[in-house]
């Protein structure tokens, strides 16, 4: 469903975030991008949904080249979750989740937080999926870190995406919350058949949850196999 061809990205300050990357992702996969911080995995994820512009190469989503023109259509079909959750802290949980539907809402009414009934039901359903239905009308900054990330996930899945991009989803969480968030992502992958690309720097989580591991170091792919084939030698290559 996703084909990345000869992708390159150099930041204006001269940092070569992605030297050259070729990568294919099949529908339904749970792929972990594993690598140390600064290896280029965040940039890779962010170029898929247009948060970063790419310098050269191509990204195809369902055989459609990602460009300025096709981006809105692709953003409708992808959800993203972030390391720092990126919730709006002073509004209610359900409004945070509804913000994931803004692309398909009335431009005018949504400015006043007014949504259709079926959208509100979809938001409640997403909150039910992440187990936070009873917190729907709490203010987001009253929640714990793990609960906030659950809201972040609900916001990403409320539009029923085909692809979920997770950028270090558990890096700001304690070990117990991390496990439950990873379990939730795994369930979402299996039950809703949503393809997941997840950035991680923890090898144990990558081994436990993903079908395939893509190791990135210094802007290039150094490992791309199923998680059973990850041995000490390739780990050294990823984290040298």
């Amino acid at each position: 469903m996703l084909k990345i061809k000869k992708l390159k990205k150099i930041f204006p300050n001269g940092v070569k975030a992605i030297r050259e990357i070729d990568l294919n992702i099949e529908a339904g996969e749970f792929v972990t991008i594993l690598g140390p911080s600064g290896s280029g995995k965040t940039t890779l994820l962010r170029s898929i949904n247009g948060l970063e512009t790419i310098d050269s190469g191509q990204i195809l989503f369902q055989n459609q080249i990602i460009s300025e023109k096709s981006l809105p259509n692709i953003q409708k079909k992808t959800g993203m979750i972030f390391q720092e959750f990126n919730l709006v802290n002073n509004i209610s949980v359900i409004n945070n989740v509804l913000s994931g539907l803004l692309h398909s809402s009335s431009r005018f009414l949504s400015m006043f937080y007014i949504f259709e009934k079926k959208q509100k039901l979809a938001a409640l359903e997403a909150l039910d999926t992440v187990g936070l239905l009873n917190k729907a009308y709490s203010v987001s900054n009253e929640l714990s870190g793990g609960q906030r990330q659950r809201v972040g996930i609900a916001r990403a899945i409320v539009k029923k995406p085909l692809l979920l991009l997770a950028d270090e989803p558990v890096a700001s969480l304690d070990p117990v919350a991390s496990i439950s968030i990873m379990n939730l992502l795994s369930e979402i992958n299996k039950v809703f058949k949503i393809t997941i690309i997840c950035n991680l720097h923890q090898t144990d989580l990558a081994l436990k949850y993903s079908d395939r591991i893509v190791g990135i170091n210094n802007g290039i792919i150094v490992f791309n196999k199923t998680n059973k084939q990850l041995d000490q030698k390739s780990l050294k290559k990823i984290f040298n």
Partner: protein, 268 residues
């Protein structure tokens, strides 16, 4: 995955985005505004009935702007800027001791803190306009009362900014110095001042920017500068000169505004 609720069950969780409470708050706010307007005997419809007529009339009398004494006007504009610069420097010098003494975590004792806070609040409370009027009576016309009024009034602002900045600094470095036996004054110069330098510079530029804007008005009470020209043109009903002065003030403020935000962005 545990069993999920059906849509029917989910409907029970639906709530309106805006409740009666929001509506009530809105109505009370509108009522409050109308009561104030009634008390002030403001009739908004006048604005639309007679307003346009007089407005067109005054605009007509103000155009075209009369730049015949341009060099004179530019000279008094420069005088205004000079007043603002002197006033700001005065404010900075005064605000350093007052700022330090009125910060709770630095002040030597409560009595000094109280005295310093009193002056800071007192001078911030009196508008520079009124201060300038009093000073004009006390020391006569000219730039001096304007400079003093600006300096003393904005001292109150700057000292308040510094005191708040000092109260919110990171306490870690202070503890580190304390643990190694540094004195209170050494702590101020090593751990307090370096932390507030960036906001110190930014605040000073903001006050300079503000003082130039205020100084244009101070001439109206006889404290020199372009405001004095504005006042005399108004008195003589020379509205075309008034509009010329307004244009000059506008251009100056535009330049100063961009200059000061440019400098502040370079500092941060």
């Amino acid at each position: 995955m545990k069993k999920k609720k059906s849509l029917f069950q989910l409907e029970k969780y639906l709530r309106n985005q805006w409740s009666i409470k929001h509506l009530l708050i809105f109505i009370i706010f509108i009522l409050f505004l109308s009561l104030i307007s009634a008390d002030l005997k403001i009739n908004y419809s006048n604005l639309f009935v007679d307003g346009p007529k007089y407005f067109v009339d005054i605009i007509d009398r103000m155009t075209p702007p009369d730049f015949s004494n341009l060099s004179e006007l530019i000279f008094s504009m420069i005088e205004t800027i000079e007043m603002a610069i002197l006033g700001t420097v005065l404010a900075i010098f005064l605000s350093i001791p007052f700022g330090l003494l009125s910060a709770r975590n630095i002040t030597p004792n409560y009595f000094i803190f109280f005295i310093a806070r009193f002056f800071v609040v007192f001078f911030r409370a009196i508008p520079e306009f009124i201060m300038a009027m009093i000073l004009v009576i006390a020391i006569g016309f000219g730039a001096m009362p304007g400079v003093l009024a600006l300096g003393i009034h904005t001292m109150g602002f700057l000292a308040k900014f510094y005191a708040e900045d000092i109260e919110h600094i990171n306490k870690g470095p202070i503890e580190a110095l304390k643990s190694s036996g540094a004195s209170k004054r050494q702590i101020i110069s090593f751990a307090v001042i370096p932390q507030i330098i960036p906001s110190f510079v930014a605040n000073n530029f903001y006050i300079l920017d503000r003082n130039i804007r205020m100084a244009t008005m101070l001439g109206i009470v006889g404290a020199g500068g372009i405001g004095y020209e504005l006042q005399s043109s108004f008195r003589m009903f020379e509205y075309q000169k008034v509009s010329a002065i307004i244009i000059i003030i506008f251009i100056t403020i535009l330049i100063i505004d961009n200059l000061s935000s440019f400098i502040r962005s370079k500092i941060k």
